[in-house]
Each structure stands twice: as structure tokens, then as C-alpha cells.
Symmetry: C2
Subunit: 234 residues, 2 copies
């Protein structure tokens, strides 16, 4: 049976978070890649495009690797019992539990990051601590069977890293060459440390509402998670 990989897809997800590693995984030998959501109807993602799931929570086969992308659409997922239950159930048996960008907050809300080192988008990094995770300012973080990538474009670095874990470095390098991943960013502006104060302030300003809503959703999700743990401990 081919290796089973599933991306959670959802309304208002960031397409590039998924398409970066999708392109990498699609080039791995003997691998089947699924796009999973609650139903098979088209999902409207950030930017207004539609993405068609290939399977549903109930029909999805047992995954060897589950990957949760990020985007503004994670906010409602943090307290969406059906989604968290699906992620938790798949994570139980998966070889790798993974995310790109703010997808790691969904892993956190599902209770999968307790005591784990994890990456996420720089602007939401400290929120990981609410779920008992250890926020790490790195492009890709591996902790046991949990592999998390940083913001958006880190999905390509994450994908190649995961390909190397699954199939070894030679396969990963062949894919890296096929997608000509030899980046040359035109500016030194990809991290808050180097973008300069004005650019960082502008990024914060344009995301203020989403981040404020996310903070509330994270705190609510963290409280639910503790409640669940207390109930299970009894």
C-alpha cells in the first residue's frame, strides 16, 4: 500500500502553506496524497479560490503523515471539536504529525504538542505556549515524530525535510533539484529580526484584528484542553 499523506484543508486556509509541501510529497515514490475536510464540496481558501477535497474525515484512510496548514482560517478550527477529534484520531496512529505555519496551533489545540518543541508563523509564535508547547524560532523543527514548519513559505523547507525523513536524503535532494529550490530572496525582509521596525510594525498593523481574535480562540482552546485532561485524569 502506498504511503498515505493527508493535508487538512479548510475555509480561509493559506494555499501556499499546503501547495509547497504538496508539490514535494507528490514527487515521492509510491505515495498517495489526500486533501481532507468535513465534506467533499469545494472549500473557499484565502484569496477566494476554491479547492476540492479528495476525501472526508469519515472516509479518510489511516494516514502515515498528517499535515495541518495555517492561515486565518485556523481561528475557528481551534475550538472545532469535529476537526480536533479527526486530527487527534489520525495522529494516534500516524508515523508523523506535522504542520506548516499556524497549523501547529491546531495540533496544539488537539493536545498533540505538550512538552514538544514546535515552530509556527513568527507573529503567532508565543501562542504555542498556551498548549504546553515550546515555541522555537526555526524554519523547521523536529521533535520526535512531530515536524512543524515556520510561516507560509517554510512549507517547502518542511516538505523537503519530511521527504528526507521518509525516504532518505537522496530522494529529498532529487526533489529539491526538480523544483529548483535554490532560493534568492530579493530583500532581507523574511524575518522580523531583519525586516526593520517599520516593516514589522506595518505587518502587525495589518494583522491586528486576526491576531486579537486568534488570542481569544487560543485561550479558549487551551482552557478546553485542560478541562479534557482533568476529566480524563479522574
Amino acid at each position: 500500500m502506498p504511503l498515505q499523506i493527508g493535508f487538512l484543508i479548510f475555509p480561509n486556509m493559506m494555499p501556499l502553506d499546503m501547495v509547497g509541501p504538496y508539490e514535494v510529497f507528490g514527487k515521492m515514490p509510491d505515495t498517495e496524497v489526500h486533501l481532507v475536510w468535513k465534506s467533499l464540496g469545494p472549500v473557499t481558501v484565502a484569496g477566494g479560490r476554491q479547492l476540492v477535497p479528495s476525501t472526508t474525515f469519515s472516509e479518510c484512510p489511516a494516514l502515515d503523515l498528517i499535515c495541518v496548514p495555517g492561515g486565518s482560517g485556523i481561528n475557528p478550527l481551534l475550538n472545532d471539536a469535529e476537526t480536533l477529534e479527526f486530527v487527534r484520531r489520525q495522529a494516534n496512529n500516524a508515523r508523523y504529525i506535522t504542520s506548516v505555519c499556524t497549523g501547529s496551533l491546531v495540533l496544539g489545540a488537539a493536545g498533540l504538542l505538550k512538552g514538544k518543541r514546535a515552530a509556527t508563523h513568527w507573529m503567532s509564535r508565543e501562542m504555542l505556549a498556551h498548549f504546553g508547547a515550546i515555541p522555537i524560532a526555526e524554519r523547521v523543527v523536529i521533535d520526535g515524530n512531530v515536524i512543524t514548519g515556520g510561516g507560509v513559505t517554510a512549507g517547502v523547507d518542511f516538505g523537503i525535510t519530511a521527504a528526507a525523513e521518509l525516504f532518505g536524503p537522496e530522494v529529498a535532494k532529487t526533489i529539491q533539484l526538480a523544483i529548483e529550490y535554490d532560493p534568492a530572496p530579493p530583500f532581507e525582509a523574511g524575518s522580523p529580526d531583519r525586516a526593520g521596525e517599520a516593516i514589522v510594525a506595518s505587518a502587525h498593523a495589518s494583522a491586528a484584528k486576526r491576531q486579537a481574535e486568534r488570542q481569544i480562540a487560543v485561550e479558549r482552546a487551551a482552557a478546553r484542553l485542560r478541562e479534557l485532561e482533568v476529566a480524563q485524569a479522574k
Copy 2:
């Protein structure tokens, strides 16, 4: 009226070629992004996913920037009169004529690269010369109003470069920070110069059929282009 950007989308295109710059352009102020194809029905792209065009060749507004992504699906486009005519017509009035990966071969087949320096995927680079272009081994090449990106992942570098051309460096940097484009490739394998002989040989082997077919399509397209030029010169 918002800035009008259109991506040509087509069967068997490489999704990441388009989604990289799409994410960048979608964050530019007062910009409308179109996905254009012959009809509005879903288009099956590389990897088997479906993409829904937002407009058609006949309905598409005049574009300020046209972008042609690449992928194995460019092979039939090189001799597809309807597509080449659409690209040529839009290019006539566009401020910028652009491509990612092997999309530049389509620009070439449309007669838009004569005497122009241009980039493409490393494996198809020399083919550009058939269309009178000057193949350049760089990540992003600007020659007049033609901006071309290298293979697949170069679309992000291309997108940020184009954003800077259109809106200046401050806007481009803010977008680069928002998508956390601070790459850290896990291997030094993104270009044929550094991937090592065995990896390069493996990449060539797995693409041999597609490249042989492409060579034929390029030569045929180049002959048609010369024929057109002779006819117009009379």
C-alpha cells in the same frame, strides 16, 4: 480600477509555479488577480487536483501583468494557436509580461522573447534560444518589461521582485515578511551545479520523456514563429 493581474492556467500546469506569486500578488494593495483559461470548467493540474478558472480568454479584462506558469502541460501549449494568440494580445498592452519556470517557453513561442534575456527551469534552459531569447541562469531576470523566473520555487522570488517593481520595495518587503520568506533549504541541492552528478542524472532520467517531447514541440513552435515573421515581412 484595481491593478489587473492574470495567470494563465492550463491542464498539467505545476500548481506551485502559480501559487507562489499568487500569494504575493494577493497581498498587494488594490489588485485583482485572475486565473484565465479557455473555458470556466475545472482544469486538472499536475498532481491531479482541480483548479477553477475565474475568467476566460474572451472575457478576461486587459491585464496590467500577465504571468505564465510552467509544468509538463506547457508542451501542447507551445503549438496551441488559441493560447499563443491570447498571450500575444494581452502582452501587447500589458505593463509587464512575465513567467515562472517553463512558462517562459510559452512567451517565447508567442514571439515575445526575441533578443530578451530570460530565465526558465534549468533543465529546459537552452530551449529558450530557439525563440531568439538569451537563456540566463538566474533566479529572476528583468529585461525591459519582461520578468521571468527560474524553476518552480523561483515563483516566490519572482513574485516579490514584481511586487517591488509595481509598488516599491516597502510593499514588497512587508509581503515578504508576511509570508515569512526567509528560506533555509535543508540541502545544497537546488541547482544542477551543486546537487551532485548522481542527483542530476536521476533528475534527467525521470524527466527524459517529457523533455524529448518538449524539444520536438519547441522546434515545431520555433518554425511556426519564423513562418509567421516571414509572412508579416512580406
